[in-house]
């Protein structure tokens, strides 16, 4: 059974005003237990609107969202259950830190779940470990940390609720290359260790390629493309049409093919490209 099923979701902003805009125009998608899904699309494509439906923050004009087979909008109880099971981390989550210590900030969610103090403590330590921060941070004020550290604390605050589905909206935006790598490893690590589903939004095609198992491309309120990273990235021209970047290695491959080198399938990682070129050269391939 899919962990989340989205059924023909329709949602519009600013209804009844001249600025009315259809943000989702009939989106259906199933998210499976344990997968890492990337949602990509240019600004205004509807990807954040879609994510905000997954834990019931927005209510669709029509359509439904099922969590483990049950409509999340059925009652207040199902909605509350969904909020604890589907953890949504907004863009720039560090702006939402508010407690006086890192410990208290991470413990806020588990407190609301009315867990025992002992259980809360356990979860705070675990989530801190997931995001790669040491215990020395627990008594610090979150406002004294660097941008990348703040973001990790904010994400730990969502992880501490042990959501079955972790949703991150542009988790790497504004981070430097090292901060970005740490965060991508965090996603992989959380998924592998807990077996929980992770859904994340990114503009960076290289980031997506390095962690996602499945890619959903949004355009103008609809799903324009979806499939494995290979399936989606091989459609370089279609991606450009949709206002997206092709990974740099993909454009390098397209360039090489244009020059007459028959290198086989289009690669999108440095490692894959290296292997493809080496095997091409070994075969004695020349112009």
């Amino acid at each position: 059974m899919s962990v989340i099923s989205v059924k023909n979701l329709i949602y519009g902003y600013s209804k009844g005003t001249p600025f009315e805009k259809g943000a989702l125009k009939g989106v259906s998608v199933d998210i499976e237990q344990g997968e890492i899904v990337a949602v990509i699309g240019h600004t205004g494509s509807g990807k954040s609107t879609l994510l905000q439906h997954l834990n019931g923050l927005l209510k669709p004009d029509s359509g439904d969202v099922l969590f483990e087979g049950k409509s999340i909008y059925e009652s207040k109880k199902t909605l509350r259950e969904c909020r604890f099971n589907v953890g949504l981390c907004f863009q720039y989550p560090e702006q939402q830190l508010f407690e006086s210590t890192v410990y208290k900030d991470i413990a806020f969610g588990p407190h609301n779940m009315k867990l025992s103090e002992e259980e809360i403590k356990k979860r705070v330590y675990e989530s801190l470990n997931y995001v790669g921060l040491s215990e020395d941070y627990l008594e610090k004020s979150p406002f004294d940390l660097s941008g990348g550290e703040k973001r990790r604390v904010a994400i730990a605050g969502v992880i501490s609720m042990e959501p079955k589905v972790l949703i991150l909206d542009e988790p790497t935006a504004g981070l430097d290359p090292m901060g970005k790598n740490n965060l991508l490893n965090l996603i992989k690590n959380y998924n592998e260790k807990t077996g929980n589903t992770v859904i994340f939004v990114s503009h960076n095609m290289d980031d997506v390629a390095s962690v996602a198992q499945r890619v959903i491309v949004m355009n103008d309120g609809e799903i324009a493309l979806q499939g494995t990273v290979d399936e989606v990235y091989s459609q370089g021209e279609r991606l450009s049409e949709l206002g997206l970047d092709v990974p740099e290695i993909t454009s390098l491959f397209i360039e090489l093919k244009k020059s007459g080198f028959d290198l086989g399938d289009t690669e999108y990682t440095v490692e894959g490209a290296k292997n493809a070129i080496l095997s091409y050269l070994r075969k004695g391939g020349t112009l």
């Binding site: 600004t43 990974p247 740099e248 020059s259 070129i277």
Partner: protein, 280 residues
């Protein structure tokens, strides 16, 4: 080349309890150049940028911007007429409710005559490709469009230099491309010196000069090619190199004699052609 900005032995910290962010930094910027400043978070690059137009004042040492000592409060206005700044968050720097009013805000404060402002605003909006949006409301624009409005506001003040602190960090790929194109037009068509602080390596590929900062000091300085060829050093301070170069380096290690320092896919394809021709 004319020196426009001069850091002389500059040290800076945000408060006495904190460590120094910049340590005896000496660095010059030159007229008409497109300079990219790279560095990981906390390397001091944003602090350096804010010292250029007297938003921050050094604790030790001197910053001279177009010859003006930034520590002299009386010169603040003169300095800001020479150097404009654009920040990361597009939503934090728009002041008016109509695009052209926003662009006119700077020149109005400089007391420039009305007709002249009209002319400057139109020209500035055309340079950043936002002329057709001149009567739009800024809050309905995309991030990339907002950043270009902010850039137009500085062009309209006719500053000689523009400093941008990670202006594309919050933008999508289309927005990033639009902003980068606008910046290269500023340099090429108006001769404005551009200082771009970023951690996107690909934005540095087309710069005239790349300065890499680490721990409050300059650790590399040269053309993009001179800097990126030192991949190991860059990686050791938490930065990456452009993907085509990374691929070339990996192939070299595996015994493929690919030459040069290809920074773009096109350059890589050219180098690759050479080796296959030699073999053939």
């Amino acid at each position: 080349m004319n020196k426009i900005i001069e850091f002389k032995d500059v040290s800076f910290r945000y408060s006495e309890e904190e460590d120094y962010v910049l340590k005896n930094l000496s660095l010059d910027f030159y007229e008409g150049q497109f300079t990219c400043v790279l560095g990981h978070n906390g390397s001091g690059k944003s602090t350096m940028a804010k010292l250029i137009n007297a938003l921050l004042i050094p604790n030790d040492g001197k910053v001279y911007t177009f010859g003006y000592d930034t520590a002299d409060e009386n010169l603040e206005i003169d300095i800001r007429r020479k150097v404009g700044m654009v920040f990361q968050n597009p939503d934090n720097q728009i002041v008016a409710t109509i695009v052209e009013d926003d662009v006119a805000f700077g020149p109005e404060n400089l007391g420039i005559p009305r007709e002249e402002i009209r002319k400057r605003v139109d020209e500035a909006l055309k340079i950043v490709n936002m002329y057709e949006y001149r009567r739009h409301e800024p809050h309905r624009l995309s991030g990339g469009q907002k950043q270009r409005i902010a850039i137009a506001g500085i062009i309209a003040m006719q500053t000689n230099c523009i400093v941008l602190d990670e202006p594309t960090a919050m933008l999508d790929p289309v927005g990033r491309r639009e902003v980068m194109e606008a910046l290269h037009r500023l340099k090429n068509e108006l001769g404005i010196s551009v200082i771009l602080v970023t951690h996107f390596m690909d934005e540095a590929v087309n710069a005239d000069r790349v300065v890499v900062m680490n721990e409050g000091k300059v650790c590399m300085d040269g053309t993009p090619r001179e800097v990126f060829v030192k991949a190991e050093l860059l990686k050791s301070i938490g930065l990456t190199v452009p993907k085509p170069l990374e691929l070339a380096e990996k192939l070299k290690k595996a015994g493929v004699e690919i030459g040069g320092t290809p920074l773009t896919p096109t350059e890589f394809a050219e180098e690759f052609k050479k080796i296959t021709e030699n073999r053939g």
